[in-house]
């Protein structure tokens, strides 16, 4: 039928245009190439950390020494991963972590995050790497001449041997892995750097309710001072994440959190070694502030569309009756 043929032509050109200006253009715009012009595919590694992307980056930078040291580092991490950790032995080592992490004061730029759910939101291999050398693990070692200067760098000298690393990680996987809410996951993983103003959640955590404006302003000043410290540490104030979930694609968010260098080479944001479940929780929090209508859309959508399907059927029947003896 002629009308269907015309419809097919219109649909074809509309979809072609859509394809060109949306998926294709975005792919071309965000394409990354190395110095030889070969495309670098940044894909998610399922929130598993074995150092391969970091080693590949060193290869691309043609830095042989770095390739070797990173390869050795991640091989060590894998080896420690094989060790059987002893959770109760790990408990005493964990005290040295708590010394910094329970203090709730800024250390070298940020307030060390609470570790209450570290065993649940971080990947095991990543935790091992982090305790071995925080700067290399989070792929920002290029910022340091001596990775011992990283704000958490002191940990390198606090763990007597590989077995104690395996033990403290085993301790966290067993005792710091309770049920975690999306907000808690976000607070532990990102809050020390990023504010979420739609969640009234600056770097210092939930804003208390103040009776007097004076107290509220005093708190505001504290927040600004904390932000200044983060800014000094990171070189810039990390962006507010309120609606970041709509400003970046899902693919970008995943690959970026897994390895910020893959999307913004040279950025000061460290890798946050979340596990897949950990990221899911953080993402859920960001959806709750940035795209809160997601669930509603899915609930209302089918009904609105059903309404128009019925409308169309009725209109079609009416049209048929009106046009029946025209030809």
């Amino acid at each position: 039928m002629r009308e269907l043929k015309i419809f097919a032509i219109v649909a074809f050109f509309s979809l072609l245009t859509y394809y060109l200006v949306e998926p294709y253009a975005h792919h071309e715009m965000h394409k990354k190439v190395d110095t030889e012009g070969n495309e670098i595919h940044s894909e998610s590694h399922g929130f598993k950390y074995d150092g391969k992307p970091d080693i590949a980056e060193a290869h691309r930078a043609k830095n042989k020494a770095l390739v070797e040291s990173k390869t050795a580092f991640w091989a060590d991490v894998a080896k420690i991963g094989q060790l059987k950790g002893n959770a109760s032995a790990g408990q005493s080592h964990f005290a040295s972590c708590a010394g910094c992490h329970d203090a709730n004061v800024n250390m070298g730029g940020v307030i060390p995050p609470v570790l209450d759910h570290a065993g649940a939101i971080y990947d095991k291999n990543y935790l091992i790497a982090l305790i071995k050398d925080p700067a290399i693990a989070s792929n920002i070692d290029h910022k340091y001449k001596d990775t011992g200067n990283h704000p958490m760098g002191a940990i390198k000298f606090m763990m007597p041997d590989d077995q104690s690393i395996a033990d403290v990680v085993a301790y966290m996987l067993e005792h710091k892995a309770g049920e975690v809410t999306p907000k808690e996951a976000y607070e532990e993983a990102c809050m020390r750097c990023h504010a979420v103003r739609y969640g009234k959640l600056p770097q210092l955590g939930d804003t208390p309710k103040f009776k007097h404006e004076k107290d509220s302003l005093a708190h505001k000043i504290k927040v600004i001072e904390e932000q200044d410290r983060v800014k000094a540490y990171m070189g810039k104030l990390p962006p507010d994440l309120s609606i970041m979930i709509r400003a970046r694609s899902e693919h970008f968010m995943k690959t970026f959190v897994e390895n910020p260098q893959s999307q913004l080479a040279g950025t000061s944001m460290p890798r946050v070694g979340l596990s897949a479940e950990g990221y899911e929780k953080v993402e859920a929090y960001m959806v709750s502030t940035g795209d809160p209508s997601k669930a509603k859309r899915e609930a209302v959508g089918p009904w609105v569309i059903l309404f128009f399907v019925i409308f169309t059927i009725l209109a079609y029947l009416w049209k048929k009756s009106q046009w029946k003896d025209l030809h």
Partner: protein, 411 residues
Amino acid sequence: MAHFDDKAMPFGNKWMDERIGLNTLKRVLNTEYWIPKDINFLWAMGMVLAATFGILVVSGIFLLMYYKPDVNLAFDSVNYTIMSEVGYGWFWRHIHGVGASIVFLIIYIHMFTGIYYGSYKRGRELIWLSGMGLFVAFSAEAFSGYMLPWGQMSYWAGMVITNLFSGGSLEAYGLVEWIRGDYVPGDAYLTRFFMLHVLLIPLAIIGLIVLHFGTLRLPHVNNQEGADIDYKESAELWKAGKKKESKVIPFSPVFLSKDLFVMGVYFIIFFYLVFYNFEFSMDPVNFDPADGLKTPAHIYPEWYFLWSYEILRPFSKDIGLIAFGIAQIAFVFLPFADRSPNVAPAHKRGLFNIWFWVLLIDMIVLTAMGKLPPTDPVFAMIGLVSAVLFLAMGPLLVLITMFEKKIEKGA
């Protein structure tokens, strides 16, 4: 003095007819507004456009209740207040966003329908010209609306587009500042575009729609074969009950029933997009708040402006601006550039048919290149070639149609 029946029931048919000529209105606009029988669903696009404009107005009114035109408040009033606090605020915003984007798809379909069937010719010139007026007004409406959320793309696209008014080497920065009300886009800029978006341009659009409809009434709409219909004769046949013999149908209820069916299909697609696939109409970059110190990696307009943007880009500054200026007004001259005596669908017009499809494909290519990074030499080359081709299409049309043979219409 007219006659008024004292016994007529208030607001009844007779009562109304005596006061505002209800029956005449119904006859002129509905039951005896004759539409050719031989038309396809593309002729429903005008009503689809009118309906989409209605949807944009209604959703816009809801958004207007919470939007705050102030550079410090605008972004959060849209992205927080409307999206999280206001019940169903997200619904109206997504409708408004998708509507603003889709209305241009339908406008382009509507325009290309007109071009294909030669509906801008012989008596229908004013329909085309008022239609172009609508195109310009919708473009201004879309651009001003895009400024309102005050995101990164609002700011930077606003910066780039207003910069065009410096006229290249003319360096008319005074004019640019006059338009912006400031050296860079700021509060004065936002509030004036707010006024344009919610008052002045919508008023102009409503006026232009009335004019567009007015210009349609006497020439009647064209038909699939471009046939010159004797409306008097056909109308008489219809009124005499000879529906099969008549070449026309009344707008209401016969054509309206088809319009409604087409609208139904359209709304199914429209709301599918609103609920499940709206990203194309709300650029992610605009969810980053405006920051005058941080230029985004890629600045591009919404998809419907890309083809003319690409005519600007590949040339040097001044030539680009001139080419862009020509592209903006090129379509206005269509009724006069087409010298052919034929009102017929393109597939019956020989070379014109090729011209039509080349134009369509060239504009799609321009649209694609307008968004692709110009740093890629291949894309830059394709962009340049298609821009030159577009500029050549006007003179080519004059040439082609001058020699077009008159089609002798049989029965």
